[in-house]
Every structure is written in structure tokens, then in C-alpha cells.
Symmetry: D2
């Protein structure tokens, strides 16, 4: 282990993926290799959740109450190998992939977090962002608590442990803890020989329940269930606690103090298109957003293309609705990742010609509609427009399948400073000029909300209109 | 360095990407960081060629005749970091990415190969496969030559060195060597303070010439020129040698003993769609193949999808021609790579649900046309069909944008054994049944050839019809 | 970071080395490289303390109250390199080397431990072994504390934090904590912009104070002061607390509840011979032990040799006193370490011919006195005797410069189980026969105590006579 | 594998250790673990030869003519682990440890070197330094040979291969090669299902033959035989070739063109004291050198100490002869190695207080004789003298158990430049003053030669008197 880290005082925003399984199918399962089946299924599921975080990966397993774990910086294939997986025996497991906004991802805050408490050992994996963290930390420190990391997760573990020490009940402690912490949190916990799933009362981050034969599974997105060929049961409700143990499954419900609201950006950008979240298909939402966009912002053009990969489905929708042919005008390099050496140091734009390339034979001489999912800073967009022009595009019409991002998010998206948001301080025309497009169109919030057909949960649209559920 | 390897006697097929630059633009270039500009540009270009080989990567630079190099197994970002690039000073550079058919990619055969010979040092990077290697090796060994590796590249270097010792001229030696070696070879060489590019007389593998300000570039595909924002000059002709040095550029031409023929599989599968090879756009070739396929094998259906990523463009062509809407019915997991732990060991199929996932909301209840670029073994295809059925597809019509692969290739494609080729021993109907589709259609060779609009070179179609140019 | 570890419930014995420096000499110091002078001096000091622990190494530095650290398994040169040291800026530093009795040394328990508490950050490095740990842990857990490791150090940190939360004073908290924890502990702590040294009230483990120009230093042994060319001031007294900060140095004293007693095994085996501990020279103690041994157990022989390295000085003393010539009859292989692959797996003896070799030309035909420092299990000793016989030794007289180890130690020496101690269950004659010597002689405890000339502290001789200070 | 290296044109001096075994004892051997017994025994033997080279280590095994190998930079324990050893199946093996004078030890020149030649595969490990290398290289390059490394070993392999191609006989080729190459070389070779040992006609570097049950062994020093509990048969004679294969052992002899002469520095410094080389015990030679030194340079003093570790035996001899008591006045830190970060960068001296420490309680107030084996540059010696003075030494009398090193060595010792040799340009009095001793005495060459009792080979004393055997 290398364990160098500066304990940072500042708050960090994070998007993460979490997964948990209580394995009840012995060694005869298709994926099973005996005692490590839980760890192996978690490993595969983390591949399916990798888009939610590429900075660190970890798995903890529980074997008769004893927890062992492994976590490391990097992608799942960088952190794990067969020997490591083979050492993780246990019939329940939780896993975590993490995106960190603070640089290359420090090891200290990798998850799951494993600690000892009065009742033995506990492992936690967390997706979200608490907002009243400094108050809670202060209260805990005044009772003498020490912290090894700067993560929300350790704060939750510490409070949980305090509450268990008071009430002598893990279940009561979870309910008590949920009453005190505010913000976005989806949690999977191994403790007391149970696998516990928790979704915050506002339901900001997704969490769902599945089954593989006799084994229960909790996951950030349904695509992780598909990856292990498990069946989707239902979404875990805002404020719901799911407790899985040997003799079955149990549910508890905490009442929200505000209104429910799943982060709408999950549909716009975070989630994988093959996931279904709170009743709405991400793929369909994006396709409909493209159609809606074509209705709201029609244009005459020869070709519709999407910014790979997140906007391809919306571009398809735009093409269908408008009748303008869809093509693949931009190619994305799959190999540019975490460790890519930026050309010219601080000059982020320069690397766009490696990350993306225009397909000249498709683009040359044409009037192009390019669909993107959102504009946050706008720098990559400007460069892509320039690249299309260099490839011979006659006209470039930028269409964004969501409204302008005007408000910072404190619940988990990496856009907490208003200065970074180009739409906070600029009009649409200014943005158009800045990125160099011939026209620009943003989908209305109303239109965007309409795309979430079948959704069974309220929405947090704070980054678009400043209206947060808490 | 870890240097464990068994020298293997057997031949290995390889697909690779090569790149070379003779840098003449001092430190003021946009990408340049002084003395390592050549290495840095090569590094970026290797990202653009990464699709041609993911098993090892290497760069050699020449600084006033002194060659230094670095190579390692893995992807470009795994092999290189900033410190390594910063240590590679020199004004000419060559780079290589390698796909090895023999397991995880051994370090021994990583390229460029750097050797000392009479005239100093020489570095070579090679894409291709020689066919008369054992004869040549025997002849060299009988003259007392020793070999450290089992690569064609070392054979070429050894013969080149023998010829230089005889003729005292690097240029003559190259011509003499080209007369003796048979097979596919595109080469970049640093020797005698020159950067030399060589394309075999049959032109099996692509090679092109570009310019970045005053610097000349040689690359396997034009997309590598785009990555460094260089200008495409022209394809290097079959049998042509390009010699770049301080006082300019020079060309030599060797006559072919057979007919010219670039590997048609470059257009079908190998090359990146944004490349233009021997006058033909890969993107357009694939799009046209889809259209042609729709003409040859029409069907009534609700949706056209492509097997990601290589068949997406052909699927689009099929959709346009047929009028059946195009959609994204399959999602490919970008993170499954070299080090993915296969579930259930030898059972290759099991991992398909992690590598791919069907988008149920798009597929459910529909009759689907799925376009793929080729069928070699057929195992992945069968699993994808099953996955689409599980997602609710009513009918599945498989359309392949190339003819059945019936003949083994000894010139560089990983299909040298006839037993592995499902189309060698099975009828189309048998293949259809095996993969579980409702219908199947392969593009005719004639139709495929027609798609290569503007092509300025003959074709090797050996794997489809057994007709090899040598 | 790799952070895989099973939290172990059982207690582990450990011998360790600790070091702390409060650097006040700016950048002009001979060793200084600006801001990392404190870390660099600690790095060098850890080399000098490496004999006290080879399983992990760590350094924490404090820069204006902000603590950064690095720790890893392995020797100091395995854990650290120049880049790491260069990243550790700060004007105070503590370091730790650790020997773990449980296998290869897990990363989790590597030190220093760095935590956040009410007052900011705190780093601790600990040498010793608490005896009432489970009571304390239970009490802390009942207050809701969570633990990340199974180390005494975290228990101490947690209790300290609780006491600080109660008293709002670091100094009071240290005194209060010392009243509750029982056992051996020497500590260096960075907290509250102070460097704090603590020695337990019984004084079981050594700790001394030094000065380098204007900088104060705390170290396990005086040899670490020599390594950084610092001046020895004095030993820190049992129960003493030394607090160093910007405006000087301060001392506090806690009264022992039992009698004082430094571990006599520090002189027999642990400490480096160039150290002076509590007023007694380790070198002189060993030399005198050899002389005393010659008086107590004289024998006629041709040659005196010592078991390398710990018994060489005693052998010299035996030779001087007896008049029998001293020679180097055994050679020790310096390279056999932590990662040596044991021949024949579980058969520990087999590796002795690699770890040691007899020098036949010195030994052949002679009657040999071989001096060793102690016999714990006796297995290595038996093999060495056999090796000397094979080299031609005519007679072999074993002389041990300490009494038989009969009692387990719970204060830090790796001999906590009576079953492992050959002298617990066997007479001297049985031991002689078991190891195959012609005669055997152990130094009396009385004689051993006499060798500690000038010692200013009581002694713990528990492992020899069962008499523990607490 | 990381394979970054600049092919260096300049010659490098090297001291190395080599070992070879032809294993004939099946799986029932004490050390054996089936098919890897040869590799395992080689691994243990390399530990015993580690003092001859710490920069890289390697093992090659031959299994029915197929050679596999592993080599890496660093110590044996750094380069090898159990998994690697377990992968090296074969019934014959050779091993190598290497000291490189050029920095940290590059991977490229690590040995054994494994190549393919006309007859299959060949592995070579080499200890020595050729002197006519550039002529030979030129001749080989003119025949078209290419070289991957800058090592003598590859030159030998290339010439051997040329000679085999000519004569079709490995044995003839070895004899022919020995006639052409000049300089120091001891070789072990795996080729043609044989294990071959070669010692150059001058016998500069040692090489001996041993037996373990039915298995033959070749090693640089007899201590490697002891390590694997093998029996010493005899030294391999200068110019002798030993060929071991299935049906027994065979010897060939090449006549020297000059006189025989084993490097006298093997006895002074290189070899391990428990080795016996060409009939002379290294331990006894050093002990006698100390006695002789006391006769030639007597002095009145209180204590004799040796510079650890190489001069301890000579110091003992001085003490015995002079009657002045022997003591351990200096302690050497075992952990300071290859990766130690030098304090103050280029200032080599500064680290001496970490590498060595004086034992004040032994040294204080005394007149000291300090014995060292040689003075090459003199910088470490000066610092040690200063350290003893600081520890209170009243007088310091330096005694060197060999003559002044006045002449550069081109046969393998790292002292090829006369400028580095302090004794080349300074009188003894100047040296005394430079190092700060009260008196100095060097052993006469005549006296040194006398110490080699029983030696059966001539001597190379070139570094002392300029008289080289070739």
C-alpha cells in the first residue's frame, strides 16, 4: 500500500456508482467460482457502472461477519486482477467506483470505507454529497471523534456508530442518522451480517433493487443488473431503507422534510442509456429530447450529427423529427483517458484533435446540425465547431438537448462554482458567438421534463432553474 | 525492465500501427516542447493508431545519430507517462502499436526494434507479415547471425545489415532487401540520420505521407496525421521507399513481382472510419456497403441497428437505403479490455452481457435488422442475437457488410487457420441457424469492391475468394 | 494506493523505531534542502533505526498545522524515493519503522497514523505494546468511536481525541491518556503545531532527546542522532512528556504506578551497539557480558567466534577474558531478507546454509567457543552447530550471553507464547543435546545486570525471571 | 517489460558473478521442487554471489533445448519472486549477478543473454572484460552482424554463432572464439543441450567446478557451492573448457598466449572470505595480510579496528601479530544500498555518517590502528578518520592491507582512469595528510603475494605494478 495524502479541508463533489449483493446461490451459479461469487459479480457490475466514476474502484466482502476489502486508484481493470478477486471470499459484497473533482483521485478517499465499531466491522459505499457536513463534523469532533479521511462517507460511518452506541440497534441508528444528515446520498452498507441499501429522502441519486435467482442486489443503475444477468425488481424509493439478511428482506421508510427530486442530469448526461431510472428509460428520454429539440429549434440542414457519445441518441431523435439525415460526423478516440498527457500543459483545447476527429468525407460542404447534451464551460464545444469548419462544414447549427446550466449544484455534480458556468453570465447569442456556431438552440426545461415518460419521482432541476428540493 | 520470455519458434500474425516524423520546426511549434517535440507528436499519433494494436507500444528517437527508445506492453497510456516522453529527445522519431495474436503480448517482440550495425544505430517499426521468413532466417543463420526475438522485424534488420555490409549503402541495402523478403510489410526506419518509409511491392498494408509545417510524417493511416494536425500529402505507393533527411525528401521505387493489392479488410474492419486509404474513404466505403447490402438483402423490419463500433456506419447506410429507421439498440462497454477477467474461464461467450447490453426500450417488440462487418468465428454474434431476443426483439435479421470469410490469411490478419473460420465449412443457412437469426445476408464481393470509390490501388481479397496477390 | 487488509481482532507484538524533529535551522543546514529538511533528516534517521523494524516505514510532516505523510511496506529504501521525500514539506516531522510479528507486514497498520480531530490534524508514531487495550477499546466503542485499523496507535489517538474534546487542552489530554493506558509505549506526536515525545511511566522502551543546532530531536536510540550528526542531550525519563514548539521546549512528568524498568533485551539484542541507552553503552554491555560469560563458563578451546551480528561484541569480550583467540568463523549473507524464498517451504532450517556459511579454513580441526546473544526457539542455533561440525570443528562449546528466556513478554518482544520458548520446558542439558553442542553455558541474570554500567533506570527482566514492572 | 535504454558506445567495466548447474537428481532432492530445481538452486547460489554484483540478476533455464529466462535490475530478492522461479522449468540453468559502473544498471545489458542461432537457442552469462572488443565488433559488423546491446556478452555470442556457422560444431566454435577474444572472461553457456563453462587462458576471473549428488555445478566462487550444499571438485584451469551433458562431463584446454594470472584483487576485496580460489583461502589470505602488515608497519596503539566488512579479517591478523587488542570501533549500516538518496546531491562524503558510525565507548581516548583493504579514491577513508577523531580517538594509524593502487585496470575492476587513483599522483605522505591520519602504512606487493598460501595460479598484479599478463 502507498498511502500518501494530504487531508483536505475543502469539500469535494463526486459522482459515483455503487453496488451490493447478498449472494444466496452457492457455487452452482453461472458466474460463481465458489466463495468469491459475490466479489466476482460485484467486479462485473462495477464495469457496468464505470461511466459513473473512473478515479478509484473498490470491493468489500463480508464472510461470517469478517470484512475484507481491496481498493485502488484507477479504472476497475487497473485496480483489480484475478488474484485480488480470488482473495475476496464472502457471501455478501459491496462495490464502488468514484469520480473525484480534485485531480487524479487520491487513494485516501477511495471506497468502500471499512471500519470497526461496537458491533464488529462495517463497510460503506456512498454516492452523493452532503450539504450540512461541517455542522455534523463539528458535533462529532466535540464528542472526541477522529477522522482519517475527508470524505462524507467517514462522517456517515462515525455518526452511524455514535447512534448505534446510543440505541444498540443498527436499524434505529440508520433512521436516526438519516434524520440528521442532509443532501444527496445513496448508500450500500455491510454491517451486522446484513446488506443495507439507503436512498436519501429527496431521492437525488438513483438506486434500484434486483434479484439473481435467490440473491438480492442493490445498484445505482439498472444496467448493472443487466451486466450480471439479474432481474430488475423496482427502484428503491426516496427515504427508503432496504435490509437484506439470511432470513429475507425488510423495508423501512423515512419521511422527507422537503419534496422528492431525482437529479435531472442523470437523464441528460450521467446515466447509461440502457438504464431505466425511477420508471423512465434514459435512452427514450434522450431520444425524445432530440425530437423535442427539433420541434423547438428547427433549421434547414443537410446532416444531423451528435457529440459522441452522450448526445448520439438525441441527435437521432432530432434527425427523425426533422427529417434531416443522421450521420457520424465526429469520431471519438476511446483511448484518451485519465493518464493522457495534455499537449501544451494548461491549454485544454489542444487535445481535442486527438480526443475527437471530424469525418471529412461526411461533413465536407454540408450544413450541419450538431446536437450536444449540455454546455457547461463551452471550451470543448468551441473546438469541435472549429474542427467541423476545418473539415469543410458550410454551416454549423448547435442544438443542446437541455436548457442552459445557470446555477451551481451542491448535491453531487462537478459544477459548484457559478464562474465556471458559461450560461450564468452570457446570453444565448453570446454563447453562440463564443463557440462560433451559425445558430444555437437550447431545449426548454418544460420540453426536457416532458421527455421523462413514466417517471415516478419528482425532479431536481436546480442547475437549470435554481429550484432545489432542499 | 522485466524481460521474461520464451523465444517462440512459431510464426505470429500481427496487425500494427506505425508512425514516423522528421521534425524540422524547432521549439516554436504548437505541440513542441523543445527537444521532445518529435516524441510528443509520435505519442499523440499512436493514440490515433491505437485501434490497430493494443498489446504494446513503443517510441524511438534519434538525436544526432544516437537512438534512445522506450517500449512496454499495454496501451499507449499504460506504456508511457510524461517523464518517459520527456526523456526522449531527438529530432526524428518512430512509433509502433502492436496487436499480438499470441496471448497477452510479450515484451520481447515489442517495437521499435533498436540495433547497432556497421553504420551506427538503427530503429525499425513494422506492420505486416512476411511469408518466406523461414528460408530467409535459415540463410542468415548459416552466415552466423543470431536473433534475440522471434519477430519479422529482427529478420528484416539482420538482412538489411548484411546488405549494408555488402553494398556500403543504406539505400541499396533497402532495395536489395525488398527483393528478397516476400509478404506484407510497411516499415518506418531510423538509420543513418534518415527517416525511411517503406511499403511492400504488393501494397498490402497502407502507408501515407504527410507534412506538418516543415516536418515530414509517415503513418499507417491518415487519421494519425489529423491527430497531430498535419496535412495529408499522398499515399506511399506499393514498392515505394521514401527517404527523409536534413536536405529534403527522396523517393525510390521497386517493381512488384506480382500484382498490387491492398488488404480489403482494412476497409471492412481494421482502419478508422475517418481515414482515407489509397484514395478511398473508409467511412464512405462502409456507408456504401450498408446501402449495397440493403439492395442485395432487403427485408421488412422496424429498426436497423449496428454492432458497435465497426458496423455503425454500415447500419446507417442500410437504414438510409431501406428507409427503415436507424437506432442504437446495443451499447458497448468501453472499459472491457485486455485485462478483463473472463467469467467462467474458457467460456468466451459469458462476458458478452458485460461487453454489450441491449437497450430494451428501443428493441422490445420490434423486428430488427442488425448489421455486422464480418463473421469470423461467429460466437459473439450468436450471443448478441440471444441478447436481442431476451430484450424482446420479435425478429432478428442479420446482415453482414462483407462476404463470408472462407480462406485463411497469411499476410497479417489473425485468421490463419481454416478451422476457425465458420464460413469455411458451413453454408449460409447453417450459419444462420448457428447464430439463431431469422434471416442472414452477406454482401457480395462484387458489391463490396464497388464501395471503394476512388481507390487507386488493386485489392487483396484473398480471405473472401482465395485470390492473393502473391 | 493498494489498501487490502483484513482487520484483525488479535493483538500483535511489535518492535519499532520512532523519530521526531522540530526543525529550526532554515535552509542553510548541511542536510537541508529547503522545506524538506525535516523530512530528509527523518529519512536518514530511519536508516539508522531500520534494525528496529523492517516491515514498513513512514514519515509525516507538519507545515503550518497541515500534515502530509507517506508510508509503505518494506525497508526505508523500498518505501521512499527522492520524489516522495521532495513532496514532504514541513518544519516538523515524525518517522516510524515497524516490525510486525504477523507475516509480511500489512499496510493498514503502517505508521505514522494521521487523523483529524477537533483541533485539526494529528500524527502519531508509536513503539510499544499496550496491555489493557481491549478494555479501553470497549469503552471507546461504547461512546461510538470507529476504528480503521487494529493498532494500539489508533486507540491512543482516539482516547487522546476524547480527552481533548473534554478538557480542550492537548497537554491535559496527554496526561489523562497516560493515566488510562497501561503497557509499553514510546510516542512521538505532531499536533497543535507541536512535536511531542512521550515515554511510558515504566520506561519499557527507550527514548532520547537531541539537538542539531537550533533543532530539537526525539529518537528511539542515540544512533539516530549520530546519523544526522546531532548532539545527544539526555534520555527522556520514564513517565516524561517533552513538548517542543516554536517558543521552546517544555517538560511534564507523570508518576508511575509501578516501578521503572527498561527492557533488558534492548541491551541483549534489540538496540544497535553504537547506541547509549539510559546511561549505559550497548557495546560495552555486550562486551562485558562476554567477559562475564568467560568467567562464569570457562572452557579450553582454540577459537572464539560470535554468531553474526548481534553476538560479535560479546565473543570479543569472551576472547579477551579467556585469552582464547577471536576469529570470524561464520559469515552472514547480508542479502537474505524479507522476500527470501524459503527452500522446502515450511522447513525453516534449510535456509541456514544460505543465510550463514562457516569459514572452513578458520574452523577446521579446532575446538570452538561460539557465543550467541540468546536462545529463543533454538532452531537456527542447532543448524549453525551442525554447519560448524561439517566445516571440521572438533568441539563446539555454546556460550549464551544472557540467561534462558523462560517467560513470555507482553510488552513488545515477539515471544508471547510460552510454547515457543525452548527454555520454558527444557533443562540446559536438554537444550545442549537438542542443539548438538559439546557444552553449553548461559550468563546468569545477576551477571548480565552487572554489565549495564552507568545505567540510570530500573530494568524489566520479565522474560528471564517473570518479574514485570507492571 | 520496460526496455528503455540508450545504446552506449563506450566500454563499461563490470564485476559479476556467474553460476551454472546441470541437474540430474530428479525431484527427490532436498532443494528440489520438481522441474524448477535447477532454477531454485541457481536462485540460492546467486544470493551467495550477490557481493559480486548488485545491479541486475537473471536466470535462464533449458528444458529439452528450449530456453526460458527472467532478468531484471536490482538485487536477487528484488528481481525474483516465487512465481517467477516457479515458471522456470528446466534441467539445466545458468545465473548471473552484475555490477555496472555506469549508473543504476540498465536493463538492456542484464544477463544471461538469450539468443537464437543456427542450432537453436543459446544462453550466456559472462564475468570479465574483453580488451580487443572494438576490433572484433568491427569485424563482425562488416559481416553484417547487428547488435542489440553494448555488452561483451553479445559480441561473444555473435562470434560464437559465426564460428558455429563455419565449423558446424559448438566445441570447435568455442575454441576458435577463445583464440580471437582477448581479456578477462569466465563464461557459463547453455547451448546444444549442454552446460559449458569457460575460463579465459589467463585465468583472470575465478571459476570452479562442484557436484551436488549427480549434478554438476560451475560457479564464480566456492561459496556458491556451499550455499547449495554442493561439494567442491576443483578450480577450472585458465584456458579450460568444461562441457557437461547427459552422458557426462568433458574437458578441453586452450593454450594461453601470455602468462596465467588471476586478479589479485579477488583476494584483497572482491571475493567472499569463505571462498577458496585457485587453492588459496580468501579468509586466510586476508588474515595473513593483516599479520604481514603488522610486521611491515608496526605501531604502538591501544586498539586495532577494521573498516567493515572487507578489512575485518585483516584487522584481526594485525591484532594477533601486534598484540594490540582488536575491537569493533566502526559500525556499518546494512540498509544503505543502491537506492539510498545521497545527502546534498553530489557530495559523496556526507552520507558516511549514515553508512558508518563510530562506537564512541570503544574509541574514546584511544590510539587506534585502523586497517582497510585498499585506497582507491580516498574520500571515504578521510571521512572515517574524521569520524573516529570526533568520537575521541587520540591517534589514528591507517594501515592498508595491500599496496597503493597506481595503475588502471582494463580487465574488470572499476578503476580504469588513472585520474581517479589517488596513489597514481600522490606520495604516501601526501595521502596520509589528505586523509588526516597520524601515520600510514601500505603492505608491500611482495608481502601481499606471500599471503596467498597454496595458490596454484599465477597472479595479475597490474593495478599495483603495471605488470599485466596480457
Amino acid at each position: 500500500m502507498k498511502d500518501k495524502d494530504i487531508l483536505l479541508a475543502e469539500k469535494k463533489e463526486e459522482e459515483c456508482g455503487i453496488f451490493g449483493i447478498y449472494y444466496n446461490d452457492g457455487c452452482d451459479d453461472a458466474h460463481g467460482e465458489g466463495a468469491t461469487a459475490a466479489a466476482r459479480l460485484t467486479y462485473y457490475a462495477l464495469y457496468a457502472l464505470q461511466h459513473r466514476g473512473q478515479d478509484s474502484a473498490g470491493i468489500a466482502v463480508c464472510n461470517n461477519g469478517e470484512i475484507s476489502y481491496y481498493k485502488d486508484v484507477g479504472l476497475v481493470p487497473e485496480a483489480f486482477n484475478d488474484a485480488i478477486i480470488s482473495s475476496l471470499s464472502g457471501d455478501s459484497a459491496i462495490g464502488h467506483v468514484r469520480y473525484s473533482t480534485t485531480g487524479a483521485g487520491t487513494a485516501e478517499n477511495a471506497q468502500p470505507l471499512v471500519v470497526k465499531y461496537m458491533g464488529g466491522q462495517m463497510a460503506l459505499a456512498h454516492n452523493g454529497n452532503l450539504v450540512n457536513i461541517s455542522n455534523i463534523k463539528k458535533r462529532l469532533e466535540e464528542k472526541g471523534a477522529i477522522f482519517h479521511t475527508s470524505s462524507d462517507t467517514e462522517i456517515i460511518a462515525s455518526m452511524l456508530s455514535m447512534k448505534i452506541a446510543e440505541s444498540k440497534s443498527v436499524k434505529k441508528a440508520i433512521i436516526e442518522t438519516m434524520k440528521e444528515i442532509e443532501g444527496a446520498y445513496s448508500l450500500v452498507i455491510l454491517a451486522d451480517k446484513k446488506l443495507i441499501g439507503v436512498r436519501d429522502p429527496w431521492g437525488i441519486r438513483p438506486l434500484c433493487l434486483g434479484r439473481l435467482k435467490n440473491s438480492y442486489i442493490i445498484a445505482s443503475e439498472s444496467c448493472a443488473l443487466d451486466a450480471v444477468e439479474a432481474e430488475f425488481i423496482r427502484d428503491i424509493a426516496p427515504g427508503e431503507v432496504v435490509i437484506i439478511e439470511d432470513n429475507g428482506i425488510e423495508y423501512m421508510q423515512v419521511k422527507s422534510t422537503g419534496r422528492e427530486g431525482i437529479c435531472i442530469f442523470e437523464f441528460v448526461y450521467f446515466a447509461r442509456p440502457d438504464s431505466v431510472i425511477d420508471g423512465a428509460s434514459v435512452y427514450m428520454a434522450r431520444y425524445e429530447a432530440g425530437r423535442q429539440l427539433a420541434e423547438e429549434h428547427p433549421v434547414r440542414a443537410d446532416l444531423v450529427i451528435g457529440a459522441p457519445d452522450s448526445a448520439l441518441v438525441s441527435a437521432l431523435g432530432y434527425s427523425t423529427q426533422s427529417g434531416i439525415p443522421y450521420g457520424q460526423g465526429l469520431l471519438k478516440n476511446r483511448y484518451v483517458g485519465r493518464t493522457f498527457i495534455q499537449p501544451e500543459q494548461r491549454q485544454r483545447e489542444a487535445s481535442v484533435s486527438i480526443k475527437f476527429n471530424a469525418i471529412k468525407s461526411e461533413v465536407d460542404g454540408k450544413s450541419i446540425v450538431i446536437v450536444d447534451d449540455s454546455i457547461v464551460r463551452g471550451t470543448t464545444t468551441r473546438r469541435i465547431v472549429k474542427m467541423l469548419r476545418n473539415a469543410g462544414a458550410r454551416e454549423i447549427h448547435m442544438r443542446i438537448s437541455s436548457p442552459p446550466v445557470k446555477f451551481p449544484c451542491f448535491l453531487g455534480i462537478a459544477m459548484s462554482s457559478k464562474e465556471q458556468l458559461v450560461a450564468s453570465y452570457h446570453s444565448r447569442e453570446e454563447i453562440r458567438e463564443m463557440i462560433g456556431a451559425d445558430s444555437i438552440g437550447f431545449l426548454n426545461l418544460e420540453g426536457l421534463v416532458k421527455t421523462l415518460k413514466g417517471i415516478k419521482c419528482g425532479l431536481c432541476t436546480g442547475c437549470f432553474n435554481g429550484d432545489y428540493p432542499l
